[in-house]
């Protein structure tokens, strides 16, 4: 009668939910069996061999030693099955499908802010289409939060110093809980919301309704506002590298290492530009730490990502790369134009 008030199993509304549930069921069966077996055995043995006048003394009888090996090896094999299965599910939960659509999220005490690439913004509610993988790129403005969708069986901590991503593909339309799962202060339990899963057509209609322009176009405005465009021009004449086509390529750094230009790399390039300096360039880019807030940062990110548009970008990539190799090699070893740290200290010149 009260079944709706007394659920034993959460709703499963994503492609991964059933896989997590299957793993859960497997573990419950194995572990449940073992636990019950242990209970039954101890109760049975404790009753059967309870102390009576005729067995004041334990019979000094040792079970065969083979047993010892058995209960080391058999559980171990079972454990390894659990590990492999768990790892497999984890990997699928971590690996974002390539065709995912993007949503951006910011956590702050105590609300969730979502932005869609088309520019819609919402608080504590998230609209997504059913049947399409959705990737959420997110960061926190203050402490650590954790974006949790129980019905999708996924969550990820939202950090103040870098982007995390989380993805899901909803399989049902409807409203599902959003919780904050990492303790974040007074209203931690109030940092909740709903995810609205809509039919794709409804979703497209929803997206069309009213906006301040796409995130990328807002990012473009910021790109001018923060004067990024003074250095990052569309051709190789600027002081900074051309950003078109940068996203998801591999970048060579001055210390000869290579990094992938992913979300976090771009974020880092803006906030702590000197920590990874592109080969062939002087570390002259100023830090924007403390000047660009998380939401604007996401817009800049969306803009830089939008520059990877295929047509002109392929040209840009090539020109940028050839520029780097030609300009890079003569500059590389001890070109002296970089400010040498040793000149600023005191008392350190021999």
């Amino acid at each position: 009668m009260m079944l709706s008030d007394f659920p034993l199993f959460p709703e499963a509304a994503s492609t991964m939910a059933h896989q997590v549930d299957a793993l859960y069921a497997f573990l419950t069966v194995i572990c449940g069996t073992v636990s019950i077996l242990v209970f039954i055995l101890i109760i049975f043995l404790a009753i059967k061999y309870r102390r009576r006048p005729d067995n004041q003394l334990a019979q000094d009888q040792e079970p065969p030693a083979l047993l010892e090996a058995a209960w080391i090896i058999i559980p171990f094999i079972i454990f390894m099955v659990m590990f492999v299965w768990g790892a497999w599910v984890y990997f699928r939960l971590s690996r974002v499908p390539d065709n995912a659509i993007d949503v951006y999220a910011t956590g702050r005490q105590w609300m969730w802010k979502f932005q869609h690439p088309t520019g819609q913004r919402e608080i504590n509610t998230l609209h997504v289409p059913v049947g399409r993988p959705v990737r959420i790129t997110m960061a926190s403005e203050d402490v650590i939060h954790s974006l949790y969708f129980p019905a999708f069986r996924t969550k990820a901590d939202v950090l103040p110093n870098r982007y995390r991503t989380i993805w899901f593909e909803a399989t049902k339309t409807g409203r599902f809980h959003i919780f904050c799962a990492e303790y974040c202060g007074t209203m931690h339990s109030g940092m909740i919301g709903w995810v609205e899963v809509m039919k794709d057509t409804d979703y497209q209609r929803w997206l069309a309704g009213g906006s301040e322009g796409s995130m990328a176009s807002q990012g473009e405005k910021l790109f001018q506002k923060y004067a990024c465009n003074t250095c990052h021009t569309n051709d190789a004449t600027g002081r900074g590298p051309v950003l078109a086509g940068l996203y998801n390529t591999t970048v060579a750094l001055t210390d000869n290492s290579m990094v992938k230009a992913d979300d976090n790399y771009i974020r880092e390039s803006i906030l702590t530009p000197q920590s990874k300096v592109v080969r062939g360039f002087a570390p002259v880019m100023p830090t924007f730490q403390g000047q660009v807030n998380e939401e604007d940062l996401l817009k800049l990110l969306a803009y830089v990502k939008s520059l990877s548009a295929p047509k002109p970008a392929t040209v840009a990539v090539e020109s940028q790369q050839s520029m780097q190799t030609s300009a890079g090699s003569p500059l590389a070893p001890g070109a002296g134009q970089a400010p040498q740290p040793t000149t600023t200290g005191k008392g350190n010149q021999p």
């Binding site: 001055t254 210390d255 000869n256 702590t272 530009p273 000197q274 920590s275 300096v277 570390p283 880019m285 100023p286 830090t287 730490q289 590389a332 070893p333 001890g334 070109a335 970089a338 400010p339 040498q340 740290p341 040793t342 600023t344 200290g345 005191k346 008392g347 350190n348």
Partner: protein
Amino acid sequence: MSDTTLHAHADEHPPHHPFLQHHFEDLGQQHEASTLGMWMFLTTEILFFGGVLCAYWIYRVMYPAAWAEAASLQNWQMGAINTIVLIISSLTMALAVRASQLGQRMGTVVMLVLTLLFGGIFLGVKGYEYSVHFHEGLFPGAQTFTWHENPALAPQVQLFMAFYFTMTGLHAIHMVIGAGLLLWFIRRAWRGDFGPEYYAPVEIMGLYWHFVDIVWIFLFPFLYLIHSAGGHHG
């Protein structure tokens, strides 16, 4: 109880040494127990300093440029002098242990006093460096960190300085505790407590002092002598 196979021969001891505690069988057991105890304690110290070193290395790998820049703000001459000073004090400490092993009362006292003296010099130099950093605005904190000669690196330089003060500060606290102990040991040595039979306390004091020296042996290159990664860029 008359059954002699049951019980240790409790009263075959010669008269008890004045420093033998009642629950030990003899001075050998006491000596062994106390040095083992000290080593256990040093184990915890290794992990104590090791924890902060681990954090330090994580960031050093993350921010090589800032680390090199920040290390160049340290006065390496002072660091080098202090390293030598501390090594000398370690030598005198070792000699103090030796003197007490050989029952040389005055030798022990003199060596302990020298150890204290060099330890004091070390702390003096360290204090001087601290005051200079303070004036340079290198002390981490919203108000106190005013160093911005290289604005792009300043945040991570501040991070480095947080390590600098945590690590050298903890080291200095250990030195101060060591100095306090030395004072007490000098008194006991003067009183003639130690000798070939009973020098475990001096040995333990030595273990502690050498450990503090070892910490510095690592801190010196870590904090003063970082060469910029990759060599050619800031």
